[in-house]
Amino acid sequence: MTPPSGLDALPVQPAKSRLLLTLVVDTSSSMAEGGRIDELNQALQNWRGELTRNDHIRRHGEIALITFGKDHVVALDPSGRTAGPSTEPYVPVSEFNPPTLEAGGVTPMIDALQYAFQLLSARRQHLRSSGIPLVNRPLVYLMTDGVPTDSTGHRSDRWRDFAPVIRQQESGKHLLFFAFGVDGAEQEVLQGLAPQSWRFLSNLSFAEVLTLMSASIESAASETSRSKPAEEVYRDVNARLDKDARIRSFLKGNG
């Protein structure tokens, strides 16, 4: 092969910064009802294509997939190459190929969020030690159809103690946190965990939830959001999601 010459030979540094996406997904037994887990699996597969169409996210993005419910709390291999817990929870978005999720068990939502924050912190430290900055704040997404429980399945209010942890991370510009709930989720919990960035999506499919996530990623990861306080970013994201919802509603009405 002839080496590049002239203009083509001028070096471009490889993309350094990373955009860390962390999905914290409910796989508790309620997800088995009405084929929800199958719908979620299908939606995740479709979403994969949507994510990788964005050059910037494909090149800079890394994704982790943490489930809570079946097998308690697990960081799965988002590339689908290995079954069960993964030793490398973040993989490039270009390699995202989610494994088939199964439903079962209780809803240890807060354990899952704590674990997600730990993994995120470890990944951030590792990237920094490799000279790689996070120019965009990491994005953490909670998707649930239930309320948090303890290990015996009883409702737990530990989320009230965890909410200040999220606020602290947000104010330090360490991450942005979004909570999406579908039928079965409790609005008080979603709102408590993500006062400015929660959505309860009655009668919406997981595919629609993931479409909302894509829109929020584009908005929250834009260069204009980098230096803004979290509340301003959430305001921009909400404006974008509301606008998208109006367009969808209009198209349905005229469909």
Binding site: V12, H56, R128, E223, T224
Partner: protein
């Protein structure tokens, strides 16, 4: 482009993919202009804040303000000592900001009759960064507000990052010319070095594709101009390559994959 004797100037600007998908215009601007003596030049780049309504116009006003300020301060002749240049650089910085303020204030006055926004918000809608250099080799005076960066190439020695943004991760809010606290963040200075053979002014959209990082013992990440940056000065010092080639390069997919931001570069290089 006609250039000062012995030096060649090329420039290019392109809209980022992120702005295309959001249907925003290119909000970067650049200017390259010879002063009256024909040998002193002013170069400037500005990056309008993506979320602000009039920031592309703000960026234009910023680079024009720098050119006007350069004329005011250096138009009747350049100093011949480092001390003289230091004084002039400080004045250049002050005039650049003053001219920008006057132009924006004039625009805002005109808009107030038409718009409901308070004057403060109208002014903020012109938010932009600015990096400007007055070049009369071996002297270079610069002024900077915001996150553009300046690289000089020395022979021998290679490229040096002279002006850079704060650490990009966890950076506070970007400081713009319209920011109330901008005074604390204006940097200006003088370089005197007969061995400098090129300068490059870039907006932050090129940071990923052209700079490298290193971590210092305190754990902080710092940008640096990698040795291979010199290849750009080598290439564009030759007679042929022009603005179009520079534009082709920064519009390439390689660069698009490094950042979705607008990208702008002005290079002045001693002819080979």
């Amino acid at each position: 482009m006609v250039a000062n004797p012995g030096w060649k100037v090329v420039s290019a600007t392109t809209k980022g993919a992120g702005h295309s998908s959001l249907h925003r215009p290119n909000q970067d601007r650049e200017i390259t202009r010879a002063l009256a003596d024909g040998t002193t030049w002013v170069y400037a780049v500005a990056d309008g804040a993506g979320s602000r309504a009039r920031s592309d116009h703000g960026a234009l006003l910023a680079v024009e303000a720098a050119a006007t300020a350069a004329d005011l301060v250096f138009g009747r002749g350049v100093p011949n000592s480092v001390d003289g240049w230091r004084t002039a650089a400080e004045k250049f910085a002050k005039e650049s900001l003053d001219v920008f303020d006057r132009r924006v204030d004039s625009d805002v006055q005109g808009l107030r009759g038409l718009m409901r926004e308070p004057a403060g918000e109208l002014r903020a809608s012109y938010a932009t960064t600015l990096l400007a250099v007055v070049s009369a080799p071996p002297f270079f005076a610069y002024v900077n507000v915001g996150d553009c960066f300046l690289v000089v190439d020395r022979d021998p020695g290679g490229p040096f990052l002279v002006v850079t943004a704060p650490e990009r991760e966890h950076a506070g809010e970007t400081v713009f010319l319209t920011s109330r606290h901008r005074g604390a963040h204006v940097t200006h200075g003088v370089i005197m070095d007969a061995r400098i053979r090129g300068v490059a002014l870039c907006t932050d959209g090129l940071c990923e594709g052209m700079l490298a990082n290193r971590q210092t013992p305190d754990g902080r990440l710092h940008s640096l101009a990698p040795p291979e940056f010199s290849a750009y000065f080598d290439y564009f010092s030759a007679p042929g390559p022009d603005d179009n080639e520079l534009a082709t390069k920064i519009m390439s997919r390689e660069f698009a994959e490094t950042s979705g931001d607008d990208k702008t570069i002005v290079m002045a290089v001693r002819r080979s």
